[in-house]
């Protein structure tokens, strides 16, 4: 059963089309992350799912019920907002129970529900405080509590962690993940942080300018991006993308980049003799002593000039020249490359992506 179906949804604000023909089918219990750059329409889509905004065309179904004309409160959803949107004049307890108050849930039941979430989120000590007396992280928890106190068909999160500092964000990210595993609820989560997307999602929808670019599991989105935009958006540092030319070689097909020849998958055969854009993740370029795989012919070694070195602690990012194109590689932090050196590197070619240079779409 699908928990949420979005069919041909588009949205116009006046003349500007903010969402174009969105089609997503989300299964029960899935954690779907909507990710994309600022202004691509993530919040708008979430608001349409919630019923806070009306789509210009298309259908929304929640648990196989068409909800186009159903008010937000009757869609059986809970939502967490970026600004938390806690009611300033109410205590934490009142914030959490306001929804039940509006639904005339009897008091004993309310108290029980508050006690349950407060325990779950460890905010028991905060229940009588006002939002102004809470820290950012505590507010975030209360906002989560307000959503969790219900048992909705669908949880919607609009960048719930973006106002937290880096450390707290990582903590809360893990908690949300645990929560999802524990509750097994269907969640739709908006973020523009691709790490959040990768770590939380069972499936990721990458959006750009109101169009879904790819909707797939994190592994596929990362390793087989549907187009150049997705390739460059997901991953930090981003995927290297360089112009290449495909040629036939005795043992298959190679991509020629200057004086470097990288073996590419056989399916690329029909592009022989043509220009492509080759995408390779920085982690596929490492020091020459790195052992990637035993598969014969999958790994090549080359020497390349080093232009810049950025140690991050756990690893070191090097900027080097590959066939005269600048690329990033990730090497062991023990190596002490210096700019200007020429050093040997090893390249794992099993996960290269090839893109059509005119459309940007994935070829292989």
């Amino acid at each position: 059963m699908s928990a949420l179906t979005i069919r041909d949804v588009s949205k116009k604000f006046g003349a500007t089309e903010v969402l174009k023909d969105i089609n997503l089918e989300i299964g029960s219990g899935e954690f779907t992350v909507l990710v994309g750059p600022s202004g691509c329409g993530k919040s708008t889509l979430l608001n349409i799912i919630a019923g806070l905004e009306r789509q210009s065309a298309g259908t929304i179904r929640i648990a196989d019920r068409v909800v186009n004309d159903v008010a937000p409160k009757d869609r059986d959803i809970a939502m967490v907002f970026q600004s938390y949107a806690l009611y300033p004049s109410m205590t934490v307890r009142q914030n959490i129970t306001f929804g039940m108050e509006c639904r005339n849930v009897p008091r004993p039941q309310r108290d029980e529900a508050v006690a349950r979430v407060a325990r779950l989120l460890q905010i028991e000590a905060l229940l009588e405080r006002k939002p102004a007396q809470l820290s950012g992280g505590q507010r975030q928890r209360v906002a989560m509590g307000r959503a969790l106190v219900r048992d909705p068909l669908l949880f919607l999160f609009d960048e719930p962690l973006s106002n937290l500092d880096a450390q707290l964000r990582v903590e809360m990210r893990m908690e949300i993940k645990q929560l999802h595993q524990r509750l097994g609820s269907t969640m739709v989560y908006v973020t523009h942080d691709q790490i959040e997307a990768m770590t939380l999602a069972t499936r990721i929808a990458v959006m750009r300018q109101g169009v879904v670019q790819q909707f797939a599991d994190p592994e596929t989105v990362y390793n087989r991006p549907a187009n150049l935009f997705v390739a460059r958006f997901m991953g930090a540092p981003p995927m290297n993308t360089l112009p290449a030319r495909l040629e036939a070689a005795p043992d298959g097909t190679v991509a020629v980049i200057g004086d470097v020849r990288l073996p590419v998958p056989a399916e690329a055969g029909r592009w022989i003799g043509r220009e492509v854009v080759l995408g390779i993740r920085p982690e596929c370029i490492a020091e020459s002593t790195r052992h990637f795989t035993d598969t014969p012919g999958a790994v090549i070694t080359m020497t390349a000039p080093v232009e810049m070195v950025e140690p991050t602690g756990a690893e070191t990012i090097v900027v080097l020249r590959l066939g005269n194109e600048r690329v990033l590689g990730r090497v062991s932090p023990d190596l002490r490359h210096r700019p200007g050196d020429t050093a040997p590197f090893t390249v794992d070619t099993r996960k290269v992506s090839l893109f059509d240079p005119t459309t940007g779409d994935r070829v292989v």
Binding site: A71, I77, F81, L86, Y87, M90, R146
Partner: protein
């Protein structure tokens, strides 16, 4: 700025400020002093002068004995009239303005801009222009020469300002708060009562003070639409000064003016602080 650095420039500024303050306070001082002088003393000396003997009795006479037209009841009934007009009109126009300001600032509906524009245009219409329409309205509703008629006028006229004040205050309330409330299942009035109104005291104080002083001090509608026993105190004061037959009762008249000004003076003394604070306060910190 440094304290204590008393430069000639500073001295000049102080002099100008004191002069302006004096210009404002002088008429008030004259009335205040005269309210404590006897009529004879004023007649024998001049309109301006320090009381030779403190004639506190002026206040008692002004309050409930002085004759206005043919009735000798002092200004007490007219004070009551003013209160009966000002208090309901202030409360009703403030509450309606809060609801209207809330509707136009936090809800989108077709024509919301127009409605807001039309409500606030009232601020810019000269009072004289509104007299004729109100004459017709009061005649049609049979409210001419009634306090209810004045309450109606002040409530409606006041809406322009109260809506403007509240709307400008409420636009600072984030949309996400409204969205959260809608998902929680709260409707228009529940959101108003439970979320918006509790955030409103600063602006409600501003609006109440503003409305109270304006309605209390209003004069044109009072003299135009009411006569005799129905007049608010501002209108009655005119009859009081005009209807003096024998000796000019300047002392008692001044006392009457002082009494009439007292409510707004008190509001200013006790509420002025909140007024300034409220005007600069935001809805959410």
């Amino acid at each position: 700025m440094h304290r204590g650095a008393f430069t000639p420039g500073r001295a000049f500024v102080y002099a100008v400020v004191c002069l302006i303050a004096a210009a404002y306070l002088l008429p008030f001082a004259v009335v205040a002093l005269n309210s404590l002088r006897t009529a004879e003393e004023i007649a024998q000396t001049s309109m301006i002068g320090w009381p030779q003997s403190w004639a506190f009795g002026n206040y008692a006479i002004a309050w409930d004995k002085f004759c206005v037209a043919q009735t000798c009841s002092g200004i007490q009934p007219y004070m009551a009239n003013s209160a009966l007009v000002t208090i309901p009109a202030t409360i009703i126009s403030t509450l309606l303005g809060a609801v209207a300001g809330y509707a136009v600032s936090l809800w989108r509906f077709p024509g919301d801009r127009w409605i807001y524009g039309i409500i606030t245009i009232g601020i810019f219409l000269p009072q004289q222009m509104r007299l004729l329409p109100w004459t017709i309205v009061l005649r049609e509703t049979a409210l001419t020469n009634t306090l209810t008629g004045l309450v109606l006028i002040h409530t409606i006229q006041g809406l322009s300002f109260t809506t403007l004040f509240c709307r400008n205050y409420y636009v600072a309330i984030p949309q996400e708060l409204m969205r959260a409330a809608r998902i929680d299942g709260a409707g228009f009035f529940r959101i108003f009562w439970r979320i918006v109104l509790p955030l409103s005291p600063p602006i409600l104080i501003v609006t109440v003070i503003w409305q109270f002083t304006h309605i209390w001090n209003e004069f044109l509608y009072g003299v135009t639409f009411t006569t005799g026993q129905q007049q608010p105190v501002t209108a009655a004061l005119i009859s009081l000064t005009a209807a003096v037959a024998d000796v000019p009762q300047h002392g008692v008249q001044s006392a009457a003016v002082m009494i009439a000004a007292l409510p707004t003076l008190l509001v200013y003394l006790f509420g002025g602080r909140y007024f300034v604070r409220g005007l600069t306060a935001g809805a959410v910190k």
